[in-house]
């Protein structure tokens, strides 16, 4: 594909091979796992880099890739890939067939034939791409590509035309592709005819409608292999954005994972959103276990530490591309929050930073003075903030570190009052609130390891940093501006995704998520001090079906993040019994710490919210 100045930078679908390769950073182990033999399902919410990863499996993109891992990974490539693009507007047309055509089976036949033709076009485009690669000798693909002379190209095209029932104007790849475009147009004409007449499909000229995509793919690969004298060459078919495909396409491809295709020669790499109600059904019908049929790569990072390295590398690449040699830590400065969820990570931390002459110590002291429940909490653990140097280093450091983020938030968003601790209203949300979430690694956590979020959040900051010529960090206020913008955009989007419940009619997913956020916020701020407030929830059987459906949608947008238990299922087809947390951008909106902490059942959480009264804490309460 040629570069086009019109196209926006964040969408990988239109990017050239060089653009894909030039800005590629692999999520942890993702590319390495993706190139292993066998079928793979790649899941992640919008913007998580699924398209980029799939496109990186094509030989032209790999050829252009010169990153640090490139050389060793390229040597492991022992297959040729066909990228099958997809998007919502096209799938909207396919889905529309069932509404436009009264005969459901005819609509499905046309839809499947259109999808089959699209796969054949992708195969032909790949054949053309292989011819455009530089001479294979000495390249990593030397065992995968041989140059075809004209008679060989003609030979392949004759076979393809026979197999796919085409009548190209000439036997070249380009003409085969043109004939496939014509076929798609012909399917459009049949769609129009079907609206008005009963059965134009039985016409002999329309036999192509019954060509099976599996057979068409397998035989095309065989023919090309045979004529290229590479009989054992493997092929990967990369199906992008399967979540928006019509159900009949999804079900067919999912069932192929169970062995409808020759796994030794043809592998599928399917990109999916995290929640798909059709996925499990395709396996359960056959009573089979999924673990042997495909491997799964999850591109969401339930535990933020797993995404840091990826986000950091991506951000540093953005800085390099802007001509800046400094790294993201230097650009952003340090976070207010500590981020060691693992106790072991902070064993060597000193208690000194909590002394009342240090900034952090002052925050602890301030909260202890205005929040009796926190004061009691410290007393019960024998911690005297005026004398932290005398404390037992290891256990006290652990306790103080454990509560640090909660203390920072409670202190920041509260003021003392006669009757208790007055919590700042959640709706009083100034830019100042978000300064708390600025700095590194908070800002990295807010991106969730999602490249699109990262580019949207960081691109203006990188531009600002470049203007500052790297002489000072980008201010917390400026970072807060971008956090606020990103939150505004996400909340706008959530308003536009319908929630089926009458309760929320007209207001989309947002009020449902606001209910969750508000309840978590109250659990953190408006009760006695707790070192383990609930910050994630588990969906129980008491949750109503409309809310279950809303959770699936929120997952696919990335507003909620699935927190898998050990041995839990990969692609979710049912949210009941599973644990989730809010996306950290939303967590910042609800003034929550960026961590998982304790879980609570969703029914309990929502019922607490319903019965909540504007809380003021009682200083006299014992902890």
């Amino acid at each position: 594909m040629h570069e086009n100045p019109f196209f926006d930078t964040f969408n990988a679908k239109h990017k050239t091979d060089a653009e894909i390769a030039g800005s590629f950073v692999s999520p942890p182990n993702a590319l390495e796992r993706l190139i292993t033999k066998g079928h793979t399902v790649l899941s992640g919410p919008r913007g998580s880099g699924k398209t980029t990863l799939l496109k990186m499996l094509t030989l032209p993109a790999l050829h252009k890739w010169s990153g640090e891992e490139a050389a060793s990974l390229k040597q492991k490539i022992d297959f040729v890939s066909v990228f099958v693009a997809a998007d919502r507007s096209w799938h909207g047309q396919l889905n529309g067939l069932t509404k436009e055509i009264p005969d459901e089976s005819a609509a499905e036949l046309l839809g499947m034939s259109a999808f089959t033709t699209h796969i054949f076009k992708a195969i032909t485009a790949t054949f053309i791409d292989l011819e455009s690669l530089p001479q294979a000798e000495g390249q990593f693909y030397s065992g995968l590509v041989t140059k075809l002379d004209s008679p060989k190209e003609r030979d392949i095209c004759v076979h393809l035309a026979d197999l796919w029932l085409l009548k190209p104007r000439a036997y070249t790849f380009a003409e085969i592709r043109a004939a496939l475009s014509q076929r798609l147009a012909q399917i459009g004409i049949l769609r129009n005819q079907l609206r008005f007449s009963n059965n134009p499909l039985s016409n002999e000229d329309n036999r192509f409608l019954f060509v099976d995509y599996r057979e068409g793919m397998r035989s095309a690969a065989d023919i090309h292999n045979h004529i290229s004298r590479l009989d054992s060459r493997r092929w990967s078919f990369l199906f992008d954005e399967m979540e928006v495909a019509p159900s009949f396409v999804q079900e067919s491809l999912f069932s192929d994972l169970r062995g409808e295709v020759d796994k030794l020669k043809i592998n599928y790499k399917l990109a999916l959103a995290p929640f798909n109600k059709n996925f499990r059904a395709s396996f359960d019908d056959r009573g089979a276990s999924h673990t042997h049929d495909y491997s799964h790569i999850d591109l969401s990072f339930a535990r933020k530490e797993n995404g840091y390295d990826f986000s950091r590398r991506l951000c540093n690449l953005m800085l390099r591309q802007a001509g800046i040699s400094a790294d993201v830590e230097t650009m952003l400065g340090t976070s207010y929050f500590a981020f060691e969820d693992d106790d072991a990570a902070d064993q060597n931390s000193s208690t000194k930073k909590y002394s009342n002459t240090k900034p952090l110590g002052k925050i602890f002291q301030s909260l202890s003075e205005k929040d009796a429940s926190f004061h009691n909490y410290l007393q019960q653990r024998g911690i005297d903030l005026s004398n932290v140097e005398e404390l037992d280093e290891k256990s006290s450091a652990r306790t103080l570190r454990k509560v640090r983020n909660i203390v920072v938030l409670r202190e920041y968003f509260s003021r003392p009052s006669k009757s208790g601790l007055q919590i700042e209203q959640l709706n009083s949300r100034s830019r100042k609130s978000y300064i708390l979430y600025s700095g590194n690694p908070s800002m990295l956590a807010l991106t969730e390891g999602n490249p699109r979020s990262l580019i949207n959040l960081f691109a203006p900051l990188v531009a600002e940093y470049k203007q500052l010529e790297g002489k000072q960090t980008v201010s917390g206020a400026r970072q807060a501006d971008e956090i606020q913008k990103a939150i505004r955009v996400m909340r706008s989007l959530l308003k536009t995704v319908p929630h089926r419940s009458r309760k929320y009619q007209g207001r989309g997913l947002l009020p449902f998520l606001d209910g969750i956020g508000l309840a978590l916020h109250r659990g953190l701020m408006s009760t006695k001090f707790s070192d383990q407030p609930p910050l994630s929830f588990r969906v129980d059987h008491g949750v109503n079906p409309d809310d279950l459906s809303a959770i699936g949608k929120a997952l696919n947008i990335g507003a909620l993040v699935y927190v898998p238990d050990q041995d839990s299922e990969d692609i979710l087809s049912n949210v009941i019994g599973n644990r989730f947390r809010l996306n950290y951008l939303l967590a910042a909106h609800y003034k929550l710490p960026l961590s998982l902490d304790r879980e609570i059942s969703l029914s309990t959480l929502l019922s607490q919210q319903a019965s909540y009264r504007q809380a003021r804490m009682d200083f006299s309460d014992e902890n």
Binding site: S89, K121, L184, G188, S492, L493, K495, T496
Partner: protein, 306 residues
């Protein structure tokens, strides 16, 4: 069949064989019909199956008074006209379609028949629009419901592998543009921003699309004068011509109805590779009356059939 679009001079005397307007709940629905009732041989009032509230009864009464006939939503124009006169012949006829109070579904249905049916071959269709007096949008936020290809204008692509180019018309429905952008996930987006005589409308459009403007660069915003649809058509035509070789174009008309009509006409002009999507968040619970400001604008479509 070929269609051409021309400017119209509303100062000129107009004579129509057929005038179609909406019998809906807005008072402005009859404004154009009131002005042109004497110039039209036949008048049809498109009656919505629901929403019989606010100014609906007045509009229906006006239809009767001016000797017009009801056109029910499930009946084609041809059938209705032949029901009135079995020998009716509207080839080469002059037709006026008032789109001011038509919803997008009704507009699509009527325009599809006027542009596609042999009954109206070589017809000249004047599309008119009556600007409403500004009223702020309802305070309730509306769901971005039922976002899907518009019936009869959904298109059909032969190049699904091409990236999507989204062309949006902006209105004051809060965040619907963001919804469209995020749903379709296009590779490139352009937005037409309406400029009317009343600056209050412009400010509301600005406010309702604040998040959307965070997502696209300002050079992708095309400001268009609501009162110059012919000029807007040419801007849209140029944009479509520059994009169609490299992308699949999806038009999402929001905002003034005259812009929606231009999107539909462009789809017919450029064919199935252009797809129109409908973002419908409307609910009758939110229905409010709209009064004509007195400003009327429009353009002319000429069908050239073999």
């Amino acid at each position: 069949m070929k269609i051409d679009v021309f400017n119209v001079n509303l100062e000129d005397e107009c004579q129509f064989d057929l005038l179609i307007f909406a019998v809906g709940y807005e008072a402005r629905a009859r404004h154009i019909a009131e002005r042109y009732r004497q110039s039209a041989k036949t008048i049809l009032g498109y009656v919505f199956p629901d929403g019989h509230l606010l100014s609906f009864d007045h509009n229906r009464q006006f239809l009767t008074e001016c000797g017009g006939h009801e056109l029910q939503s499930n009946v084609s124009i041809q059938n209705r006209l032949q029901g009135l006169d079995a020998g009716a012949d509207f080839s080469g006829s002059k037709i006026c379609l008032d789109v001011s109070s038509l919803n997008r579904g009704a507009m699509a249905s009527l325009l599809a028949e006027l542009l596609d049916s042999d009954f109206f071959k070589n017809a000249e269709i004047t599309v008119l629009y009556s600007v409403a007096v500004f009223a702020p949008p309802p305070p309730e936020e509306l769901d971005f419901l039922d976002f899907a290809p518009l019936d009869k204008f959904g298109g059909w692509t032969s190049n699904p592998e091409r990236p999507t180019a989204l062309i949006l018309g902006l209105g004051y429905e809060t965040d619907h543009a963001v919804g469209a952008l995020e749903f379709l996930d296009p590779s490139v987006t352009f937005a037409f921003f309406p400029i009317g005589s009343d600056q209050k409308f412009e400010k509301h459009v600005e406010k309702a699309n604040r998040s959307f403007f965070e997502l696209i660069s300002s050079d992708r915003i095309i400001k268009y004068p609501v009162l110059s649809p012919y000029q807007t058509f040419w801007e849209m035509r140029s944009l479509i011509l520059s994009l169609r070789g490299v992308a699949r174009i999806v038009l999402v008309p929001m905002g003034p109805k005259i812009f929606s009509s231009l999107c539909l006409v462009s789809q017919r002009m450029f064919g199935d590779e252009i797809s129109i999507w409908r973002a419908s968040g409307h609910s009758l619970a939110m229905a409010r009356d709209a009064h004509a400001s007195g400003e009327i604008t429009g353009y002319l479509i000429k069908r050239v059939d073999q």
